[in-house]
Every structure is written in structure tokens, then in C-alpha cells.
Symmetry: C2
Subunit: 123 residues, 2 copies
Amino acid sequence: MMVTIDLRSRVPIYEQIKNQILELILLGVLKPHDQLPSIRALALDLKLNVNTVKRAFQDLEAAGVTYTLPGRGSFIAENALENNQLKGKALQEIRDAVLSGRANGIEKDEILALVESIYQDEK
Amino acid sequence: MMVTIDLRSRVPIYEQIKNQILELILLGVLKPHDQLPSIRALALDLKLNVNTVKRAFQDLEAAGVTYTLPGRGSFIAENALENNQLKGKALQEIRDAVLSGRANGIEKDEILALVESIYQDEK
DNA sequence: TTAAGTGTGATATCACAGATATCACACTTA
DNA sequence: TAAGTGTGATATCTGTGATATCACACTTAA
């Protein structure tokens, strides 16, 4: 399936779903007006509760990434990535994590290398 | 005082205390065998419960950053920063945050600049 | 010896978040 | 009409962060 979940991660499940759908849009796998899997189908597939998937979809719609047609389903918005309202929160999380890393004696170069390696895997 | 708390931050209070003490060691303000403020005095000063400060001190001792003399107090360990067992967890948090940032369309250069600016303030 | 100051241990309570479990409802499509 | 969409509401469970009180063992200084 298009999404995989790591139950042992500290990252909440609904955040993992959000991030992976955003990645798929970024990669061009999901394009504007493409239909997302239904929350029930995705929940069944991932062995999760419907409400957990619903939470992810609600966040995405609230952020302007998707839109919903009553009775039909959820779809990728026209300018999904440009609309995305979640960047600020994500940036703040990075800032907090880096500050904590600096306090724990992690070298700047170590972080820079980590960032490089993460972005290298892209596409 | 040597520590300040931001109650509006998503970072737990006891983590803020841990990080700031680690920073003070990193900066050389606190040196090996220096005595830390007592958990009661620090709690009073920061208007926190004793248990919250205790949690921070327990974590620091468990990580090998401090040691305790019964009835006397807590002190900076000989090789506090070298002993520090918390780097792995901090690195994982950075990794998660950067992955989330990438998913949300944050550019690599934006993160690199953020890291640079955070480490620039040092010392 | 006593009083005050250290950290420790245990327990209870509260608030919140993440996740699950069930409902019922309104809408659309075949 | 039946099946499939998302929505809304409620309840429960679990873990975490934080607070509130205890009692205890130890050390230091009066």
C-alpha cells in the first residue's frame, strides 16, 4: 500500500500518515484531484482504527492539502503543497530538537551531515 | 538564576532543566565537582514542584552527567559530557523532526541555515 | 544532640494526548 | 435500495507530564 506505519516510533500514527501523504504529493505520486483511499479502507489496510486515520485526514484538510466531497471521498487540493499550513509547526519542532541536540553535545557538523543524508534519499 | 523555564513550550519542563544544565557544563560555567543547587531550592526559585526538578536530576545522574552524595547534594561528574548517554535520543529526535520537515516541503537550505544560526549563538 | 538541609521513595491526583471502540447521521453512487 | 463516502459524538484505555504530600536516611552546623 501507499503508506506504512511504525508502531514503535515516538511519532504519533496520525502524524506518520500525514507525513507520508505529503511526501507522496511532493514526489508527484499523488496529483491534484487524485482521490485518496477512503478512511475505512486505509484503516482496514493498516490495521488501525477509523478514527486514527480520520484524524490525519482532518488535519490535512484543515491545512489546505486536501478537500472533501460529501459522500464521495477526499481528494488532493489544487495547490496542495503551496497551501500547506503545517510548515511553521514542523520548523519549530526542528528548532527544539536541534537546541536539545546542541545541549547534549552533538556537533554542528554531525547535524549538517544528518540533514544532507536525509535529503539525499529524496526522489 | 542559572535556569529559566518557558511554560508555554512543548518541551517538558524537566527536559528544559536537563538541557540548560548540560549547556552550562558545555559553556564551562559548571565544572566537574561543582555543586548543583538543591532540588528544593531550584524548585522554589523556578516555582515548580520538587518532583519535577527531581525528575531532571535523576535523568542527569542516570546519564552519567552528575553524581550524588547522600545528604550532601548533587555534583557535576568528572567527565560529564563524555559520559552523557543522552546523545542518541537527541539525535533520533532531530532525525524525526527533519523527516517531518521534509515531508512538509521545507527546503534543505532552510534547515541548514537554521542549524547554523542556532550554533552561531554559542558561547 | 538537635535542627536544618540534602536526595530518595512511595502514593495519589489531575490534565492532556494518542488510540481504540461503537454508535448514529447525511450524503452519493450504482 | 444497498453499499460506500466522510462526520459527529461519546466512552474507554493507556501513557506522560506535573503537582501534592507523605515518610525516610543521610550529613552538616549550631
